[in-house]
Subunit: 388 residues, 2 copies
């Protein structure tokens, strides 16, 4: 179940020849209303692709009627011509659907620094518009895949309304978004402020806590479209929970499909003085190549874990290094900054999921979990060969 | 030529059985004076090994008469017992040399979280003291090697004085030091303030601008010993230049010997508004796994380079993303944030050294260069197998 699971949406995914594989590469998601409320969050990278520049403005008024997405080219670092390509794509969608180009969000993913094949893309958009249907969600989810090995979709039920979604992304995942495109849909009745606040909170707690290789892409976009077709105005907290749950499932699916990974690693930090402190320590650990290679080697190397924690400045995360406990998959391998239980008790070879818990014993902030992957031969292979 | 090249120093390196290879693993460097001026800089990691805790105090008064170093064990995260081991080692050296234990700097390198084999280490120190000679520098440099493939030594001549040095380190190199031990010696006459200031400036410009994998070790130490045996008080700027040059050569040797690397990568940032801004951009690029895997794949992937630059916040490094130029080994592959010269003109397969220059066109700060390595299959292999 995906973006077309909530009422009021049609979608399509077609092959336009942008991807060398010949697979589907143009997706269209349309909100048939009655409401056209929308919100979006974008990469915090200062180097942004043309579609991000366009879409920030398009969704700036809290209204959008369609999202057009293509794989096979990021349209990033393509200059004024690249921006014109995005603009023309939005206008073409607008004409086909009879809506304003300014209500069309555009997303692109693929290689940086190359112009899109506009004749192919334009024909693809025309074909996608003709193929729009209330069952088109799975095709759309397939069309946005790049190095993804599986399409990522979600559906979370509310009370008379629901949240659907699709995402693409594999590797290059980082806080404040990733090489990641995500469209969330709901038939709940929302106003623009509520949609914006709910989307920001959901991404903060989910996509922003996934950190595959510390990179931030030029194109990352998460869009929420609300059709209001259920006629139900949801309880705000219930809607927030459902939206966050949908985003969480998609974020988890991104980690599970990260390029070349052999483990999904959850780093949980407890006992920090603040959420900010806990996040900083968790991120320092998830970004350590030495921790990530150790996990690949099925080695619960707690020395590297606490040495990574030690790189966080004291004013960011106050704690006593001699108080740190580290638990890996339930075995407390480090106690009070020193040797704990026998590390040979930890079996990493047998589990895809690795749970690292670092107890700071410094305060009573709630636990924070950041997900990442191990650093493997396949990661090096896929990312050194990606553009060739 | 190494730590015993300047007058007034003796050194030794012996095999004590700490390393499973059976190679030399205990080094001793003694300053016979007449001066015993010393300075040191240590890791900025908050999780520090026992020898770092000890040596900070030992050198705190600007005086040291000997440095004892062991490979085969980091003595980190070993609790109060580990600190006692370091203390005992310093006392043993003091007794053998007839100096105060408080004037003995201790350095350890190897695995974290395991106690040292103290009977073996003590016997090794006794043997090293007996073997001390003015020709012992090369043996000492060999004894501090861990995964290093070559011993790293340096000698820079001044006017009637000189600077010698040795270092160990391969991988785990990061700003503000690395899994790296370095002893620098000089027979110039220095006072304690001058020695401290000169060492901090030299490390700031050299070791702190090497970033192999973003890690900071628990044990990193750089020590400077000044014997005054030349009887010459050097011109301060000349001494600074010589010390910085010695440190630069050792830092460059560390990069050249980084674990599993196939390229040495120099990232130079020009046209920043400040040195801080240039450094922040250079570090963001040298820490990007996507840039590092691309270099391994001999791919001058400028999109990943500018996307990494784009992760630096604007208040840290002001620049216009649409003004960025990127040159790789002399070919300007990105111009004004967009496509530049044909990237196929860049031949990375044929050169160990890769020079990336990013022109920000934002200010007139002097260029800053940070060195790193590519991310390779061998890096993953060596770091996933290190503790097994």
């Amino acid at each position: 179940m995906t973006v077309t699971a909530p009422r009021g949406f049609r979608a399509a995914g077609v092959a336009a020849g942008l991807k060398s594989s010949g697979g589907k590469d143009v997706a269209l998601v349309v909100n048939d209303g009655p409401s056209a409320v929308a919100a979006a969050v974008f990469t915090t990278n200062r180097v942004v692709a043309a579609p991000v520049v366009w879409s920030r403005t398009a969704v700036g008024d809290g209204i959008a009627r369609a999202v057009v997405l293509n794989s096979g080219g990021a349209n990033a670092c393509t200059g004024p011509e690249g921006f014109l390509d995005t603009h023309r794509t939005a206008e073409h969608v607008g004409e086909l659907l009879g809506v304003s180009a300014g209500d069309v969000v555009v997303c692109s993913t693929g290689l940086i620094g190359e112009r899109l094949d506009m004749p192919a893309l334009t024909a693809g958009v025309t074909a996608a518009a003709a193929a729009l249907s209330a069952d088109g969600g799975p095709d759309a989810a397939e069309a946005i895949m790049t190095t993804d090995t599986v399409a990522k979709t979600v559906h979370v039920e509310g009370e008379g309304w629901s949240v659907g979604g699709m995402a693409k992304g594999a590797g290059m995942l980082a806080p404040a978004l990733a090489t990641m495109l995500c469209v969330l849909t709901t038939d709940a009745e929302l106003d623009t402020e509520q949609a914006d606040a709910a989307l920001r909170e959901a991404t903060r707690l989910t996509f922003d806590r996934v950190d595959s290789d510390g990179a931030m892409s030029t194109n990352d976009t998460v869009v929420l479209l609300a059709s209001g077709a259920s006629g139900v105005r949801p309880d705000p907290q219930r809607f927030q929970d459902a939206l966050t749950e949908a985003a969480r499932q998609l974020a988890r699916a991104l980690v599970a499909d990260a390029e070349g990974a052999s483990h999904d690693v959850a780093v949980t930090v407890t006992g920090a003085t603040s959420e900010t402190a806990a996040l900083a320590v968790a991120r320092a650990i998830t970004r350590s190549n030495l921790v990530k290679t150790a996990i690949f080697g099925n080695d619960p190397n707690w020395g590297r874990i606490i040495a990574s924690a030690g790189t966080v400045p004291e004013d960011v995360a106050p704690y006593d290094p001699l108080a740190l406990d580290v638990t890996v998959n339930g075995v407390q391998v480090c106690r009070a900054g020193g040797v704990g239980d026998d590390r040979s008790l930890v079996d990493l070879a047998g589990s895809r999921e690795v749970h690292i818990e670092v107890a700071l014993h410094a305060g009573d902030a709630p636990p924070v979990t950041v997900w990442t992957n191990d650093l493997t031969h396949d990661y090096v292979h896929e990312n050194s060969a990606y553009s060739t």
